[in-house]
Symmetry: C2
Subunit: 276 residues, 2 copies
């Protein structure tokens, strides 16, 4: 069943490209247009059938009935104003940005049919070359409605994500950013710092523990600098919370308090085992 006539994806990287592949594979739209600043990306996206048409000029999106912003957070904020003047009436608008407060507060005002989304389906890979139509299968997608979000928009966006295989959950943008600063941004900040701490000459002694703990430190640095800065307040507070917990472990070791140390580690282990 076609959900849309023409879908425009702005930014054809891992997420945008995977959306295109999935929408085309599942025949959810008659046409998928990809917008990018990079001609090579568009050619590749077209070749792998993630998009039908690739354009460097955003003017073409005026016919679309669904616009998906899939660029880094900063670029979404930059492009939103211009795009709001181009779209046709009734056009649905969404974005897949990793932080939501800034984006939702701006796009909710600009677009009458907007609903923000954050599919928790990233990886340390960033480019269209790692894209897959199955990227969203079995993952969680957080939708961030506001008091302005129309029931119809909400229903159609839920329908889209469910067709892509995601489990949909609702959250305010504020709450989203707080939660994500813990479950995503903090682990990234820690992975980057942890590998940063390693003396180069020690790396040859690394085992799977270090590799797993730092896998996400291979993520794009520009992208993650943007994400960190766009969620500054929450992230600083989750980093400080973590620092306090780590200091507690450090103190238990320093004071040779085995009972306390085992208690902390056992609680952590139990929590980890509860992770789906």
């Amino acid at each position: 069943m076609k959900l849309f006539n023409k879908v425009a994806i702005i930014g054809v990287g891992l997420i945008g490209g995977s959306l295109g592949l999935a929408i085309k594979k599942l025949r959810l739209a008659n046409e998928v247009i990809g917008v990018s600043r990079h001609k090579k990306t568009l050619l590749f996206a077209k070749r792998v059938r993630a998009i039908d048409t690739g354009v460097l000029d955003i003017n073409i999106i005026k016919d679309a009935d669904l616009i998906i912003f899939a660029t880094p957070v900063n670029t979404i904020l930059e492009l939103a104003g211009k795009i709001s003047k181009l779209i046709k009436e009734g056009c649905l608008v969404t974005d897949v940005g990793s932080t939501k407060q800034e984006i939702v507060s701006k796009l909710d005002k600009l677009f009458p049919n907007y609903l923000g989304a954050h599919p928790l389906a990233g990886s340390e890979k960033r480019s269209i070359m790692s894209a897959s139509p199955d990227l969203f299968k079995g993952t969680l997608c957080i939708l961030t409605p506001t008091k302005n979000t129309k029931a119809k928009v909400r229903r159609r966006m839920v329908g889209l994500w469910e067709r892509l295989g995601a489990r949909v959950i609702f959250s305010s943008a504020d709450n989203h950013d707080k939660v994500i600063s813990y479950v995503s941004h903090l682990p990234h900040a820690i992975a980057f710092s942890l590998i940063d701490t390693m003396p180069i000459s020690y790396l040859k002694f690394s085992s799977s523990g270090l590799r797993d703990t730092t896998r996400i430190a291979a993520s794009d640095s520009q992208l993650w600098a943007d994400i960190f800065l766009s969620n500054e307040k929450n992230l600083i507070s989750s980093i400080e919370h973590f620092q306090a917990r780590l200091s507690k472990i450090k103190f238990a070791i320093k004071s040779n308090n085995k009972r306390q140390l085992i208690k902390i580690l056992a609680q952590a282990k139990k929590k980890r085992e509860g992770l789906r």
Copy 2:
């Protein structure tokens, strides 16, 4: 080719059990004896053919020509004295403890044919039920010779680990503990702290990033408390090094210094990509 007549493995958990399975599978010994305080473990180990005989009483090891200590660090230190009085002349002795200074300094004095080992092949699993004859294939095994280590002992232990599929590397016990405090103990301390920091209600929003970063926090808490305390000085210093690096990222975020932040993340990413 048989390398040994009778091998005694003291402690039949993940590592000890896997050693038994591999030695039996590769027919490296005529007999493998398992020593444990837990009858159930011995029965299971015998059933899966990780050992030929299981005993609760360490007196039986007097005929062995290779003794492998595969218990937690503390237990190795506790048992060593007693066992040194039981073994026959010429018996090779090794251990697979995760920290080496304390163990090597004690066992090197007690046993004339001792060489310490640390196969970097652990996992968050601990029990014999996760053991595999292939656990050591393609992994690194650090041997920690001293000025007392005989060339023949060294040669035979290298031979054993290479037959098990490990790549052997030499290090002093001091250097081993310093390096391992960075590449293994620090990631564990961080993984425990990171999951410890998560508000329970946020866990349902977790994605693969958090799961990977905290996988090793499902490790045994008693075992890791022992390991942390047995490498206190090095671990405290690597934790403090990490805390300083994390604070640097935190400061770059707080001061909105995007250039500095990208620089740190890009260096980390590059280092991570160099990890084998």
